[in-house]
């Protein structure tokens, strides 16, 4: 007899019989009985009643039996907590067993038993196992910490297991390291702010070493963890990339995808001019193609990810179109994904091949696939203008097949082609009209009606065609009804004489016989337009519409960036952020790509540093009045005239789009009143990139919580110079973000509105990170306080003095200009602490002529106080020495553009005068750094 017999026992009284067998004296019989219990458990029968009897079998020399009992325990302990205690002794004893396999088994199983009382007993054995001499036990114990944390997070912290786990990252055994990383990453996810995984260049180095040695799974854990790290500059990013690229040749696809994730993320930090950047791009394509020869399920995961990668960096796979050609035997989910990528890669260079393929696919069997192929042909036409004609003729061929769903799909896409290339292909309308009767899907009917309405003047029997649809008006879907209404109104405006009756009919159907609010409202709008001013109606309804955009269904850029951080994971398969499908707070930390922080330009070659721009060339400090005014006005709202404001809205909803276009032109009249400035869409003022870097700054700053010294507000722009607007302000730096705190006072007699702000180019690229938000009009004698977030990604131009900032502020009255000096310490970044060795090397490396010496007088503080006060403004003490009674502080700081400044501060006890020596590769900043020292120490 074989083990499969255990699955077939269904007779009554089974439990009773099993009980007897479990208590049998014969070992063999006992084991048989436990097997039967497990089999019953598997198929879903409740065998919890046997708990005490099964637990009694636990004390055994037979490892196989022991494992079965453990399996049972893990399943039922929660339902029988009191009895589960009976097992504790055995566990504790097993944790001391001379055989490492048994020790590990015990600690592994104990972690899976979610009973509070047992958890308490687990702590001591776990502590021992974490330090066990055998790596097999340690790697098991590492995972056990994560298990315990899942049951009782507080306990894990109280017992200090987190520190032990952190120590395991330096373990000599690679698998222990990998499991420790996995456990820590998981724990860190539930405490996003804990800084648990304290990644720094040293620990990263350890991980990269372990990466070469551990199992394929361990490599995945480590790579996924690495992807969460943000290198401090482009050089570190590059060196990590160099050590990760060999993983692209691993046989395990998950290792490859995780490596791709790290590379895609860190590439963000590399300058595109770098040779290495190009090399990296080239290295990424082959492994991505290789993923397509994996098993179909993995191909699917790979294709979903490639879809993201192609959107983020199209250059990687632009020559690889052929590998995405669909194979006859591919599973449907692979076919659909390949098709999607083919369209994304379609370009003028390969369009002929793509079209030939798509035509082939349109004759396939699977309806979804065929539809998508037909739709793809339309998308190619819209994307590659040169191919439009060929696409249209291909679509016509397909319509000739008379396969119902092919015809309908073709008509839907031809409508979009018309919207992209108006008045070009209307010769095909006749063919389309022939198929009118076969259209039974709302989308296709709506598309056809739209075409008839749009080209009504060229279709002789347009009125008859539309009338035929009108007969069953109430049975149509809303989409078709709306379209029919619009089309008939268009027809009427084009051929008013013959169609008066028809338009009245449709207006009354829409307004009186329908209870759909959209339909009624649109009906009334048309009605009033037509009855009030037919000429205006014509201008509105038949106005030229913006063309539809080339790429539809692209993933929104911020989401795309976030998904790139999740390459290989479920999020990348669903194309949704984890928060959309993960319950609770777990794993839903928002991720973003790192901003580019270049180290090379500034630290290596001071002459190219922004501060080193030729000072003779000090041109139009403030551009001509007109230019700047123009710029500022561009901040203003309202859809750009002529642009495609609504083109991104769904292509299918032609009706909505039309109306949108009409409304725009309506509002565009002379009485256009600008909405208040508060309504400025946030993305007008800031580029996407700066938004991202802001986020990043925030997250990296968490934990250090530094608040630099803030000077009191000073008047920057007196009221008399600005027609009554007084501006005073100051600069602050807090938690890594810089802001300009402004106070606006209205000293005029009229209300001020529509505020906007702009900076001239300046030495450190300071720029507003958001538009100036004044939420209500500023009435006379009113004051508002505004904190304007700044970033340092604006354009750079050397100013004189270096920290000069020229600002333009606009309101409804005029544009005003003023300039102010910002204290340099707002640019001192949080990670400005240099490693001691590095400090020494750099100090020696910087030529002596770059050294500048200053005296700070009348400062009553001692060395301790100085050090801590400076630290809160991100000037870090690297080392301290006492030489002949004098305190020497060695300090470092880093500016937002990556320039390092090294300082030596000599303090003589009892003497209020300090000597400050500064060394920097860009000596121009020294003077201002000295001023920053003065300000910080004396306030």
């Amino acid at each position: 007899m074989t083990d499969s017999k255990y699955f077939t026992t269904t007779k009554k009284g089974e439990i009773f019989e099993l009980k007897a067998e479990l208590n049998s004296d014969k070992k063999e019989k006992k084991k048989e009985a436990v097997k039967k219990v497990i089999a019953s458990m598997t198929v879903g029968k409740d065998v919890s009643a046997l708990f005490p009897d099964v637990v009694n079998c636990m004390q055994t020399d037979n490892l196989e039996l022991k494992k079965l009992v453990y399996l049972y325990l893990m399943n039922y302990a929660k339902s029988q907590p009191d009895m589960a205690i009976m097992a504790v002794n055995t566990f504790v004893k097993d944790c001391e067993d001379p055989n490492p396999l048994i020790r590990a088994l015990a600690v592994r199983t104990m972690g899976c038993i979610r009973v509070d009382k047992i958890t308490e007993y687990l702590c001591e054995p776990l502590r021992k196992c974490l330090k066990d001499e055998d790596p097999y036990v340690r790697k098991t114990a590492a995972v056990c910490v994560a298990k315990l944390h899942d049951i009782n997070a507080q306990l894990v912290e109280d017992q200090g297991f987190l520190d032990t786990l952190k120590d395991l990252i330096s373990d000599s055994n690679p698998m222990v390291v990998a499991n420790a990383v996995a456990a820590l990453s998981e724990i860190a996810e539930s405490h996003p702010s804990s800084n648990l995984l304290d990644l720094n260049p040293q620990s990263i180095n350890k991980l990269l070493t372990a990466l070469n040695e551990c199992t394929e799974w361990g490599q995945i854990f480590i790579l996924d963890c690495l992807a969460n790290y943000t290198p401090k500059d482009d050089r570190e990013a590059q060196s990590i990339c160099e050590r990760v690229t060999p993983r692209l040749s691993h046989a395990n696809s998950a290792v490859v995808l995780s490596a791709v994730k790290v590379l895609m993320k860190f590439m963000e930090m590399l300058s595109k001019d770098l040779d290495y950047y190009g090399t990296l791009l080239k290295k990424l394509a082959p492994p991505l193609v290789t993923l397509l020869s994996a098993e179909p399920e993995l191909q699917y995961v790979a294709l979903r990810n490639i879809n993201l990668i192609v959107q983020k960096r199209p250059e990687i796979l632009k020559h690889e179109m052929k590998v995405f050609f669909v194979k006859y035997n591919d599973p449907i989910y692979v076919k659909l994904e390949k098709l999607d990528i083919m369209i994304r890669l379609a370009s003028q260079a390969n369009i002929a091949q793509v079209l030939a393929e798509l035509k082939e696919y349109a004759t396939e069997v699977d309806v979804d696939f065929v539809r998508k192929a037909v739709r793809a042909i339309g998308r190619c036409a819209i994307k590659v203008e040169q191919s439009a004609e060929r696409c249209v003729s291909t679509l016509l061929d397909l319509i000739q097949t008379k396969v119902n769903y092919v015809v309908q799909e073709a008509i839907v896409v031809i409508k979009d082609i018309f919207r992209k290339y108006p008045n070009k292909y209307e010769s095909v309308i006749a063919t389309l009209c022939e198929n009118l009767d076969s259209l039974d899907e709302p989308e296709a009917r709506a598309a056809m009606i739209w075409i008839v309405g749009e080209y009504a003047e060229r279709i002789d029997n347009a009125d008859e065609l539309l009338e035929s649809f009108l007969e069953g008006f109430h049975d149509e879907s809303t989409q078709v009804q709306l379209q029919l209404l619009t089309a008939i109104v268009k027809l009427f405006l084009k051929k008013p004489t013959e169609t008066q009756e028809l338009v009245q009919q449709v207006l009354s159907l829409a307004t009186q016989d329908s209870d759909n609010p959209d339909l009624r409202d649109r009906g009334y709008i048309y009605w009033r337009l037509l009855s009030t001013d037919p000429v205006a109606a014509k201008e509105v309804v038949l106005a030229e519409k913006p063309l539809i955009s080339e790429e539809t269904d692209l993933i929104e850029p911020t989401l795309l960036d976030e998904l790139i951080c999740y390459i290989g994971t479920l999020a990348s398969v669903y194309h949704k952020p984890p928060s959309a499908f993960v319950e609770g707070g777990r794993g839903v930390v928002h991720k973003s790509l790192p901003p580019r922080t270049a180290s090379s330009e500034s630290t290596e070659s001071p002459e190219t540093a922004p501060a080193g721009a030729p000072s003779g060339e000090q041109p139009d400090v403030i551009p001509t009045q007109g230019d700047l005014l123009g710029d500022l006005l561009n901040l203003d709202l309202g859809p750009p005239v002529g642009g495609p404001p609504l083109a991104t809205s769904s292509v299918q909803m032609g009706a909505v789009d039309l109306l949108g276009g009409g409304l725009d032109s309506l509002i565009g009249g002379p009485n256009f009143v600008a909405p208040p400035a508060a309504a400025v869409p946030p993305n007008l003022g800031t580029s996407m990139g700066s938004g991202l870097s802001d986020l990043f700054d925030l997250t990296s700053g968490v934990g250090t919580l530094s608040g630099s010294y803030v000077a009191p507000k000073a008047v920057w722009l007196p009221a008399m110079k600005a027609k009554g607007l007084e501006i005073s302000g100051t600069f602050t730096r807090q938690v890594g973000s810089i802001s300009m705190d402004l106070q606006l006072t209205n000293k005029a007699l009229q209300v001020m509105t529509d505020f906007a702000i702009q900076f001239n180019r300046n030495s450190f690229g300071l720029a507003p990170a958001a538009p100036l938000q004044v939420h209500a009009p500023l009435s006379p004698n009113q004051t508002v306080e505004i904190s304007l977030p700044l970033n340092t990604v604006g354009s750079v131009m050397k100013m004189e003095p270096l920290n000069n900032l020229q600002v333009a502020v606009k309101n409804n009255i005029d544009v005003f200009y003023f300039s102010t000096l910002y204290p340099l310490h707002i640019l001192f970044v949080e990670d400005g602490k240099m490693d001691r060795q590095m400090f020494l090397a750099t100090w020696k490396d910087i030529p002596n002529e770059n050294e500048a010496q200053f005296q700070i007088r009348d400062c009553p503080l001692n060395a301790e106080a100085v050090s801590s006060r400076l630290q809160s403004s991100n000037i870090f003490t690297v080392a301290k020495r006492n030489v002949e009674g004098q305190d020497m502080l060695y300090q470092s700081l880093k500016l937002t553009n990556g320039i390092w400044v090294l300082a030596e501060l000599r303090i003589q006890p009892g003497n209020p005068s300090f000597t400050l020596s500064l060394k920097c590769r860009a000596p121009e900043v020294s003077q201002h750094v000295y001023q920053a020292y003065e300000t910080i120490l004396k306030n």
């Binding site: 083990d3 255990y6 699955f7 598997t42 198929v43 020399d61 196989e64 494992k67 079965l68 399996l71 055989n99 490492p100 396999l101 048994i102 592994r108 972690g111 899976c112 790596p135 097999y136 036990v137 790697k139 098991t140 994560a146 055994n173 690679p174 698998m175 996995a182 998981e186 040695e213 199992t215 394929e216 799974w217 995945i220 060999p246 040749s249 691993h250 046989a251 998950a254 490859v256 082959p286 193609v289 290789t290 098993e295 399920e297 995961v301 006859y328 035997n329 449907i332 989910y333 091949q353 004759t363 396939e364 069997v365 290989g568 994971t569 479920l570 999020a571 993960v582 319950e583 777990r586």
Partner: protein, 407 residues
């Protein structure tokens, strides 16, 4: 991480159910059965989200393996793990069938406990697993302390795929270069896409911990070496091949390949796949299929297929098969000019008729990519045998992959 793993038979009955995480309940087992196994339509995705729970599945014959999770897991890893699980099971008890799974369910649970801990995959190399997960549970009692620590260090070690102290009287190794040629040709004879995906499979029966170095006619290596001797470059330059991409078994030192492009490793004992590679340039297409299809009226189809071989007459191709698709309801097939070895196989496809491509199967005794093994050197410094003492065998087999000509 993986929250649970279930194995079902074709009817949707659970054969194995192992839950690793508290967030996965018993109802997950049923959810998958109802929504995927019993679903009416064809599988539309290998990943299914049901009530905020994600199910990954793969199918082996009529057995379903499903991994379940509520978190944002590494999806590629989950599938790789499921495949690995299948490999491990196959290595232990052969074919994955309902019968075999039921007969070995205790073993499967033991394996699942070992290779997946809290949903994190652990060492899953069969070589290592077989040293301590045996079907005789008693073995553990007789192990000595050294044996135990040898097991644990192998399972967790840098060379987790090989144990120490292997001894053979005759040191021998076999290399199989197995290639599959893939072709998609248009009816007009234009190559739409063609590539070779190859594998180098090694069977090693070597003593000790042998350090191996594998060399082939990789264009990049040849060109690098050829710098000194221009003469050789011109000679071997023609024979070298451009490899688009390759992946390696985890025993190969990837960083060394990345920096020097040399393939060095300590092999597992017995059979394993050393590397996979793909080439697209200068492929020798062993056969050319020239189809001529005419639809004569609505009920008659005339198919003429000419096949030409494209290799030396001294070589013999085997297992040749040409599949000419015909509609399901075909009757009265007339064969006019069919040579003896070729059989006509009417397509028995369940799908609706849409004129699938003509496909070919074959096996040829050479590598269509042009790959040649140049050497495989073996060094075992501690033991008393040298590279010359090892008996080495190399074999090349080229098979058809998806070799299709549209018609």
């Amino acid at each position: 991480m993986i929250g649970g793993l279930f194995i079902y038979n074709h009817k949707g009955e659970v054969l194995i159910s192992r839950v690793y995480r508290d967030d996965i309940g018993r109802n997950a087992v049923d959810a998958f059965r109802v929504n995927v196994i019993h679903a009416r339509q064809q599988v539309r995705s290998p990943v299914t989200n049901i009530a905020r729970t994600s199910f990954f599945h793969v199918k082996r014959s009529n057995i379903w393996l499903a991994a379940v999770t509520k978190q944002n897991v590494n999806a590629a890893m989950v599938f790789e793990f499921l495949y690995k699980m299948c490999d491990v099971m196959a290595a232990y008890f052969g074919k994955i069938s309902e019968e075999n799974i039921k007969n070995n369910f205790v073993l499967i649970y033991e394996l699942l406990d070992e290779i997946l801990d809290f949903g994190y995959p652990q060492n899953s190399e069969t070589g290592a697993l077989k040293t301590f997960i045996t079907q005789q549970g008693i073995k553990s009692q007789h192990q000595t302390k050294e044996e135990q620590s040898q097991i644990t260090s192998q399972v967790t070690g840098q060379i987790g795929w090989r144990r120490e102290g292997i001894k053979y009287r005759r040191n021998e190794l076999f290399l199989d270069v197995l290639e599959s040629v893939n072709l998609l040709m248009s009816p007009q004879g234009q190559v739409l896409s063609a590539h070779v995906s190859g594998r180098v499979v090694m069977k090693s029966y070597l003593s000790g911990m042998p350090e191996c170095k594998f060399g082939m006619n990789d264009k990049i290596v040849i060109e690098k070496q050829g710098k000194g001797t221009a003469d050789e470059t011109s000679k071997s330059g023609k024979q070298s091949i451009a490899i688009d991409d390759c992946t390696f078994h985890q025993c190969v030192r990837l960083s060394k390949f990345d920096s020097e492009r040399s393939i060095s490793f300590i092999p597992p004992d017995g059979e394993f796949e050393l590397m996979r590679y793909r080439t697209t340039k200068d492929i020798i297409l062993p056969f050319r299929v020239i189809p001529l299809v005419r639809e004569v009226g609505r009920t008659k189809l005339e198919v003429k297929v000419v096949i030409k071989s494209n290799f030396k007459p001294s070589l013999l191709a085997q297992k040749i098969e040409v599949r000419i698709p015909t509609p399901l309801n075909t009757s009265g097939v007339q064969e006019s000019q069919i040579s003896a070895e070729i059989e006509l196989l009417p397509t028995n496809d369940k799908k609706k008729w849409a004129r699938p491509p003509i496909s070919m199967n074959f096996e040829v005794p050479f590598a269509p990519s042009g790959l040649k093994v140049r050497y495989l050197k073996v060094f075992e410094p501690k033991l008393n045998y040298s590279d010359h003492d090892v008996i080495k065998w190399v074999r090349y087999i080229g098979r058809s992959g998806i070799y299709e000509t549209r018609c």
